[in-house]
């Protein structure tokens, strides 16, 4: 019971900081100015959101939801790679 209270209260305090940093990431996405900047911001946003989802699954007491974090991290990486390929190559299949 002590553990539950401890975990819940600490996480509840930490979550606003997470949300603020997400907002700051989004500011960078909106400001740009270039595509790599935006992608970089999305990249960090995605990884941190993945971690956030993992953390949130403890707070929401639904351990089974944790896989979504992994999925987000993986496909944000994939998104990175697509944009990188776009910038580098002449054709996507190259």
């Amino acid at each position: 019971m002590v553990i539950e209270a401890l975990v819940t209260s600490v996480l509840t305090v930490l979550i606003p900081i997470y949300v603020v940093s997400f907002l700051l990431y989004v500011v960078r996405v909106v400001k740009g100015p270039t595509i790599p900047d935006r992608v970089l911001a999305i990249d960090s946003l995605g990884y941190d959101l993945a971690a956030f989802m993992v953390v949130l699954s403890i707070l929401l007491k639904s351990p089974l939801m944790v896989v979504s974090g992994l999925a987000l991290a993986l496909w944000v990486y994939a998104f990175d790679i697509y944009i990188a390929k776009y910038l580098e190559a002449k054709e996507m299949g190259e």
Binding site: L64, M65, V67, S68, L70, A71, L74, W75, A78, I81, Y82, A84, K85, E88, A89, E91, M92, G93, E94
Partner: protein
């Protein structure tokens, strides 16, 4: 903003205003209700209910149970839509010839090696999500799309040459997809066929014994429930989706030089 745009804007605004008003006026029940719709309660009670087995899917996961058992027909035709779309892409690009040796440098060595390391991990994560579809969140489509995005990733990172060269040609993917779909189809009618053989009645998409049709799929494997047909559906669906989506991407990302020959030979007869 010209007149046409203004008309569109106004009508859309009207639509969303109506929608918002409907929601605000309680058209969909109270906002953030504390009681569920009764149908949802029926599903939740029955999803794993050994005490009322004729209504149950014997799956711990209510969403997978609804997707593949209670509303299995929807999902079957959803897979068909995917099938139609993938074959449609093949139709629009028909006549292409996959060519090896068009060259392809892919991305840098570091990305290549990292993706190489990731490959088995993503693959096993996808398979794991598919085979635990009736126990944890996930299922056939989720697992299959994991694997499909892996193939997309490989064709981007290593180049198309690498993917085709390692044996994943479009006809092989088509074959895999057909196997998956035929698996889904035969799982859905398996008990009907068995019922005809044994002389009893069974429904299409039947999973566990129902009133008047006593046939049932195996419900336990070792120490966990299998959800009857759900395990098979998830596996076949994962195969079909993985093969199908990568096929579609493969065809879409063909290089222009591979397609332009096919475009030259006109086969337009009206």
């Amino acid at each position: 903003m010209n007149l046409r745009e203004a008309v569109i804007a106004v009508s859309i605004a009207l639509m969303i205003a109506l929608l918002a008003y409907t929601i605000g006026a309680g058209g969909l029940g109270p906002i953030a209700p504390s009681r569920l719709r009764d149908l949802a309660v029926s599903y939740l009670i029955n999803t794993y209910n050994p005490w009322n087995i004729t209504k149950s899917a014997l799956s711990l996961e209510a969403v997978t149970a609804i997707v593949w058992d209670y509303r299995g027909l929807d999902t079957f035709f959803e897979t068909s839509v995917l099938f139609v779309s993938i074959v449609g892409v093949a139709l629009v690009f028909r006549g292409y010839r996959e060519k090896l040796g068009l060259g392809g440098k892919g991305l840098s060595e570091i990305v290549k090696t990292s993706t190489k390391v990731l490959t088995p991990l993503i693959l096993i994560a996808g398979i794991s999500i598919a085979i635990h579809g009736h126990l944890t969140p996930g299922g056939g489509f989720q697992g299959g799309s994991f694997i499909a995005v892996l193939l997309v990733l490989m064709s981007v990172v290593f180049s198309l040459d690498f993917v085709i060269g390692s044996g994943l040609t479009s006809s092989k993917l088509l074959m895999l997809r057909s196997i998956g779909l035929v698996g889904v189809l035969s799982t859905s009618v398996a008990l009907v066929v068995l019922g005809i053989v044994l002389g009893t009645h069974a429904y299409i998409f039947q999973n566990i014994a129902r009133e008047g049709s006593p046939l049932s799929m195996p419900t336990w494997l070792l120490d966990r429930p299998t959800g009857g047909t759900l395990l098979f559906f998830n596996l076949f669906e994962a195969l079909a989706v993985a093969a199908g989506l990568s096929l579609a991407f493969l065809v879409l990302s063909l290089r222009e030089s591979e397609v332009e020959e096919a475009l030259g030979e006109s086969e337009w007869y009206e």
